[in-house]
């Protein structure tokens, strides 16, 4: 599977990273080098093998469904590039 410039444009859009048109050929080349290399996994027989989803065998821990921390609005918005009255400010999204 090899990616062309259209695919790079599409995944950059999905990743929300602006990419200039003149960067597309080089990026496609880099991604293909890496993707060609990982193709090697195709030769491994994984029929019936469970995917590993956790680095160490463990069961998901449960806890009481209660508030453990709160009232940190100032801390939470303190690092925002733009905030007002305890809210984040973003460009208009609803016309």
């Amino acid at each position: 599977m090899s990616v062309d410039q259209n695919t790079v444009r599409r995944i950059a859009k999905l990743a929300r990273i602006a990419v200039r048109e003149d960067e597309l050929p080089a990026l496609a080349g880099e991604l293909n080098t890496i993707l060609d290399w990982v193709e090697m996994l195709g030769e491994v027989d994984t029929q019936g093998v469970e995917p590993m989803t956790s680095a160490v065998a463990m069961t998901m821990k449960m806890r009481e469904d209660v508030v453990t921390s709160g009232n940190h609005q100032k801390d939470v918005t303190g690092n925002a590039p733009s905030s007002e009255d305890g809210f984040y400010v973003v460009p208009r999204v609803v016309e």
Partner: protein
């Protein structure tokens, strides 16, 4: 007072502080001076001198009363991946410009609880993505070691290159670091220091900037194995704020050292003898085997047949998780924002300006392998191969207790030598990445010098949550290797 306080190991400094032969203010002052003189190495991105002296004074007051924790008064460097309350934390990425966390990571909280002193934040590859510390927004870190009769600046390894360089050049007594594919052990090998990545779940990931969550683990880089045992004992422990943190008591790692390795079964995985292997690394490995045998260990040949698939597996799993983790950098909640004509345009411009080339490459790869139609072929397949890699280790551990391998395929290389070829850079992690995929503990111990006078490391790999045996074996290896070489202090000139 001793002539050069920075010559002490962490254990030595701890004992001298307890015996009131030195004070933490003196010790901390000596390090702040060394850091000022060592600026050319670019190991620190933020220096917290006032905070350090304040913490040192508080430690001295405790020590004077005969009180204090396991690290009371010990000056440390902190990798910039750890959130430090009130202190700039950027993961060395432009996109985290100006981020000052209102909270402290669990690992650093544990260190301060035990009395340690913070000297500052250490440089690393951007978001820990790199093997040479050249992807940092704040520029490359320089290795204090140089080739014999040569002034070429070399890389300190990565991603914890600020940590390895600072410990090696005596710009801190020990440092925190993180390891996703080799980022503690490879830099340790490149700088003649010790680096241990504990079992996944041993140290809390809470407050550590996330790269690949199923692989990331914190650990220390130190001068020697004893110091690593002391640091790990403080950093480790259960944390309910990290759902993958494991609730197991932390043993006294230092007490495990020096018990000898008589009868310990050391496995030698034949697949690590890769094609075109550097002859010096191969010879060092053979010497390591002889040392452990002479110390009473039993050498066992083992096989890890899926070793060659570890790196390609890693370069699917890690970018996939990274692309998901790094989605949070959107110009809204913290860090950099580049304005746009609408919100999507703002996201795209912010992320284009904020991420460096390597991070962008990995986010794109990760997005691709997780995208509709490709998930099964790439991500699911990689997770299945990961199962096989973990099974290889489980099988090997039926006949041995630890494994011995080289840490890295070469000694430190020159700055700029490998930046144009991502694949050749990725190959640095060929011996370390399997350990992250299987969630196991691993340690790099300096074991000799290359013909050019550069340090080389050997890696020991342990069983899950058996850091005690791992450290015991590492201590025996360290004693046999008698590695005492130090870099010449050219950087103070």
């Amino acid at each position: 007072m001793m002539s050069d306080l920075t010559k002490l190991t962490l254990a030595g400094a701890r004992d001298a502080l307890k015996a009131k032969e030195i004070t933490s203010v003196e010790l901390t002052g000596a390090y702040l001076k060394a850091m000022e003189a060592g600026k050319a190495l670019n190991a620190y991105v933020t220096v917290t001198a006032d905070k350090a002296l304040e913490m040192a004074k508080a430690s001295d007051a405790k020590l004077a009363k005969g009180e204090g924790g396991a690290l009371e008064g010990i000056p440390l460097g902190i990798k910039d991946l750890f959130a430090t309350k009130g202190v700039l934390t950027t993961a060395c990425s432009h996109i985290l410009d100006g981020f000052v966390p209102p909270y402290e990571s669990t690992v650093t909280s544990n260190l301060w609880r035990d009395g340690a002193v913070m000297l500052g934040k250490l440089n690393n590859d951007e978001f820990a993505m790199g093997s040479s510390n050249e992807t940092s927004f704040y520029g490359p870190v320089v290795n204090p070691w140089r080739r014999n009769g040569d002034t070429t600046n070399l890389v300190p390894g990565g991603s914890s290159g600020g940590s390895s360089s600072a410990v090696s050049a005596r710009l801190c007594l020990a440092a925190t670091a993180t390891d996703t594919g080799g980022s503690i052990r490879q830099p340790a090998a490149f700088t003649g220091t010790v680096g241990i990545k504990p079992t996944y779940g041993r140290c809390s990931r809470w407050g550590v900037v996330a790269f690949a969550s199923s692989l990331d683990q914190a650990g220390p880089i130190t001068r020697d194995v004893r110091d690593a045992a002391i640091m790990l004992g403080s950093m480790a422990g259960y944390d309910e704020k990290d759902s993958t943190s494991v609730n197991q008591p932390v043993p006294d790692y230092e007490a495990a050292l020096g018990k000898g390795i008589k009868g310990l079964r050391v496995g030698i995985p034949k697949e690590y003898r890769v094609d075109g292997m550097n002859a010096e690394i191969d010879a060092l490995w053979t010497r390591g085997i002889e040392w452990l045998k002479a110390a009473g260990a039993e050498i066992v040949d083992v096989s890890l047949p899926n070793t060659k698939y570890a790196l390609p597996t890693y370069y699917i799993v890690a970018p996939a998780e990274a692309s998901s983790n790094l989605a949070r950098y959107d110009g809204v909640r913290y860090g950099l924002r580049v304005e746009g004509k609408d919100i999507t345009d703002m996201y795209e411009k912010t992320r284009a300006a904020g991420f460096g080339a390597e991070v962008r490459r990995r986010v794109l790869i990760g997005t691709y392998v997780l995208s509709a139609g490709y998930y099964d072929a790439y991500y699911l397949k990689a997770q299945q191969v990961r199962t096989l890699i973990a099974r290889d280790f489980a099988e090997a551990y039926r006949s041995c207790d630890v494994l011995l391998t080289p840490t890295a395929p070469s000694a430190a290389f020159g700055i700029g030598e490998k930046t144009s070829d991502p694949l050749s850079m990725y190959l640095n992690d060929v011996f370390t990445v399997t350990v992250n995929l299987a969630g196991l503990p691993g340690i790099s111990v300096p074991a000799g010098l290359s013909s050019e006078g550069l340090p080389l490391g050997l890696q020991l790999i342990g069983k899950t949550f058996d850091e005690e045996t791992l450290l015991r074996a590492a201590f025996a290896l360290e004693q046999a290797a008698e590695f005492t070489a130090e870099p010449k202090t050219w950087w103070t000139a």
